[in-house]
């Protein structure tokens, strides 16, 4: 027994001493001008991108353009810079865990790509700091790039009204529809619904066509955040409420939520949608393939769908007739004027950006590199021949001229988009919401599903204090 007792005792003592190490190190006031005059600089960039895999374009841009060009520029000023790119290509959740661990130990890269909704929780945890604090002085505020970035987009990388990072792009949600199927069902080519009922009517008209699922509205937990962003939340803001309102209350069992769930019920219990698809592990990918094959009438998705999924040459589920057959319309509010801010049309936007590691050894140079990555030339270089929404208005004007959908989204949709709250508990709230949609799709009534949702929220938030309900 001696040996085992000893081992256990030793282990416990060590564990107890280790508990002190659990909390993050106290923030030491770092001098933001440290190493400002260094002539030999080394920096590291990290992103959830890897050459030959996920987000390969970004990885290749960083490795083949950003790094060599910046090094050249700095060399002209007599500064030798070495830059390393730490690639990664895994699920967002796993990437997030890894950079969280790095940031808490003050290690890891100097420039870190993060998703916009992580800003709040990382800031609360002390992992990141406002840009002006890290870099010091007015350098950040005086950057001319800010004028080119929409306020709302900037807000995506801000927390408590302070800028923590530079946004790396934006997106918007619309309703895609198949014009060929519409013609078959006698619906107009330039369809723009103005209420949920309009959408349902179009769906019912499509119901007559054999082998076609009229509407695909993401639901269920299998699709994860895609359910919330391309399903529940655009509907919710269409009823006039954001998931976390300005009154600092989360939407619980409210009429708004019940309305949203009611629409799900209408679609999935009257044959306008495919309930099984929402439960499959690969359901989202399958819905893409089905749309590309002309088997889905109306689909709510982000611009990513247009430029990366059904893109005729390089898409994941390429649709050769995309430009002729695919139409798009703004997402209507429940009824005209019932959206947030009294809007008739709504959308949600997401996107990520890049932050600076507060423990970086070269804050001034890191900011220079970050500003360079977000300059007009660099941004244009990233987009290359493709077309996508960048964070800069000037670049968008130039490159989106030839792509109608993307200019449409940049000009019409992004300005009226809402964003998700960057709070630590948001992922769990999102999960509860996904669960509620799943309940409805599998036959539970909206009232019951909303009640269950309320209970789940109370468990996540530790009480009903921060929850709005009626």
């Amino acid at each position: 027994m001696h040996r085992s007792v000893c081992a256990v005792a030793l282990g416990s003592v060590l564990a107890l001493t280790a508990t002190a190490c659990l909390g993050s190190d106290p923030e030491e006031e770092q001098d933001s001008t440290r190493n400002a005059d260094a002539t030999e600089v080394s920096l590291t960039i990290t992103a959830n991108a890897v050459a030959g895999g996920k987000n390969a374009e970004e990885a290749e841009w960083i490795e083949n353009y950003v790094i060599p060009t910046f090094i050249e520029q700095q060399a002209e000023d007599g500064v030798t810079v070495t830059i390393e790119f730490q690639s990664s290509g895994v699920d967002d959740e796993e990437y997030k865990s890894r950079i969280a661990l790095d940031l808490r130990t003050g290690s890891g890269a100097d420039i870190v790509s993060i998703d916009g909704i992580w800003v709040g929780e990382f800031a609360d945890a002390g992992y990141i700091q406002p840009l002006t604090d890290v870099v010091g002085g007015d350098l950040v505020d005086e950057w001319d790039g800010w004028e080119q970035i929409n306020d709302a987009v900037q807000a995506n990388m801000s927390f408590n009204d302070e800028r923590y990072g530079v946004p790396a792009g934006s997106d918007g949600r619309v309703l895609f529809f198949n014009k060929a199927l519409f013609a078959q069902a006698g619906l107009p080519e330039d369809w723009q619904p103005t209420s949920w009922e309009d959408v349902l009517e179009a769906g019912r008209a499509l119901q007559g066509i054999e082998g076609v699922t009229p509407i695909q509205l993401n639901a269920g937990t299998a699709m994860g955040e895609a359910t919330t962003m391309q399903g529940a939340l655009p509907l919710l803001v269409g009823t006039g409420a954001e998931i976390y309102g300005e009154d600092e209350l989360w939407q619980g069992n409210t009429q708004n939520i019940r309305d949203v769930l009611g629409l799900y019920e209408e679609i999935y219990t009257t044959g306008l949608g495919d309930p099984t698809l929402q439960q499959e592990a690969q359901g989202r990918d399958k819905s893409f393939a089905e749309f590309a094959a002309g088997q889905i009438g109306i689909l709510m998705e982000g611009d990513y769908f247009w430029r990366s999924v059904i893109e005729p040459t390089a898409g994941v589920a390429p649709m050769p007739t995309r430009d002729e057959d695919v139409g798009y319309a703004m997402v209507p509010a429940m009824e005209p004027g019932s959206g947030i801010n009294g809007q008739d049309f709504v959308s949600m936007s997401g996107g990520g950006g890049r932050v600076l590691n507060p423990a970086t050894e070269f804050p001034q140079q890191a900011w220079e590199l970050l500003a360079f990555m977000n300059s007009a030339e660099a941004t244009k270089e990233l987009v290359g021949d493709g077309a996508r929404l960048t964070q800069r208005d000037d670049v968008n004007e130039e490159i989106l001229a030839n792509d109608p959908l993307l200019s449409f989204i940049a000009e019409e949709v992004v300005p009226l988009s809402a964003y998700r709250p960057g709070l630590a508990v948001y992922p769990e709230v999102s999960l509860a919401l996904q669960q509620a949609t799943l309940d409805v799709v599998t036959g539970v009534s909206p009232e019951d599903a909303a009640a269950t949702y309320q209970t789940a929220l109370e468990q996540v938030l530790g009480g009903a204090d921060d929850i709005a309900s009626d």
Binding site: R3, A7, C21, G52, G53, V90, T105, Y304
Partner: protein, 328 residues
């Protein structure tokens, strides 16, 4: 576990399995009895020596058919899912279904274009071999001494370690492992990964190997001791050759576990050039999360080949057994 002399009886049975009854295991006495009745042996078949009847009875035929059906079903059950792995990489339009492929080697070419693919396989080998060496050597030493010397509390300790190893291989231990390795300065180091993985695998390895060693009779070691051999020499020259199948099995088991481990290398390594194949496999998805089946299936095939080869090699050379001092 099997008996002390399990090894002996087993080899006897292997030799005697196809022979009629009055074979190896009968005591000497009986054979004299047989020898003393020659006239009986001449005319009639001995009741104690049933020979298979010339024609199989219907019951036996059914039995045979049943036997082969069972074998066929088992073979089909185990082989069916693996067909995807051998057909899809060569398919021009890879999908989830197993169909006759439009043969092409393009997928392999595409895989080669990926800058990290082959390197990651090499990294996997490094991690696996490193961990296997560590585990085999340490487990052999530990299990031998735990088997031969009754240290108080050893069983409790082994069970406790076995249970704890399930925590450390789970997701909840991620943070402590990272923080500890950071303090030790072993982040982004393949050696760090090898140490962590070995630590997690050792308890079970010792557990299995100790059972193995328990079945080896101590007589050889005792006699060697009498002749003045040191413990280490005994271990090296007498015990190890006998437990080689067990060691080989532990080695294969370790390699298999390390080969497929994603979480530990992902958390501890930063440089993509050092990432093993298990991590790289997860990157063959597109921006929206759609799996790139061409790359995944092709890489899976390449990813599987080394482990399979290793198993075949070990099986041929040492036999693959988890228990008993039995040679295959």
């Amino acid at each position: 576990m099997s008996r002390e002399d399990g090894s002996i009886a087993a080899s006897a049975s292997e030799r005697g399995a196809d022979r009629p009854v009055s074979g190896a295991s009968e005591a000497p006495g009986k054979s004299t009895t047989v020898a003393a009745e020659p006239n009986q042996a001449a005319g009639q078949p001995e009741p104690a020596r049933p020979s298979p009847p010339p024609i199989m009875t219907p019951r036996q035929v059914v039995g045979r058919i049943g036997f082969y059906t069972v074998i066929a079903l088992a073979t089909a059950f185990f082989a069916l899912p693996m067909l995807w792995l051998v057909s899809t990489p060569f398919d021009d339009t890879p999908g989830l279904s197993i169909s006759l492929p439009d043969l092409t080697l393009n997928n392999f070419r595409d895989l080669m274009d990926n800058p990290y693919a082959l390197g990651s396989l090499l990294n996997s080998i490094v991690l696996a071999v490193g961990a296997a060496l560590l585990v085999v050597i340490f487990a052999a030493l530990a299990s031998y001494s735990l088997s031969r010397v009754k240290i108080p509390g050893r069983d409790m300790l082994l069970y406790a370690l076995l249970l704890l190893s399930s925590i450390v291989t789970g997701t909840a231990a991620m943070v402590p492992i990272f923080l500890m390795m950071f303090q030790l300065g072993l982040i982004d180091s393949q050696i760090g990964v090898i140490l962590v993985l070995s630590g997690g695998l050792l308890p079970a390895a010792i557990f299995i190997l100790k059972d193995f060693v328990d079945t080896i009779p101590k007589s050889y070691e005792e006699s060697a001791r009498v002749f003045g051999a040191s413990s280490f020499q005994i271990l090296r020259h007498i015990v190890v050759p006998v437990i080689r199948p067990g060691l080989a099995t532990i080695a294969v088991w370790t390699v298999v576990n390390v080969w497929g481990n994603f979480l530990v290398p992902f958390i501890l390594l930063r440089d993509t050039d050092k990432q093993p194949a298990a991590v790289l496999m997860r990157t063959f998805y597109t921006e929206g999360g759609a799996p790139n089946l061409a790359l995944i299936s092709t890489f899976s095939l390449l990813y599987s080949i080394p482990v399979v080869l290793m198993y075949l090699f070990v099986n041929r050379k040492y036999g693959f057994r988890f228990h008993g001092g039995i040679k295959s």
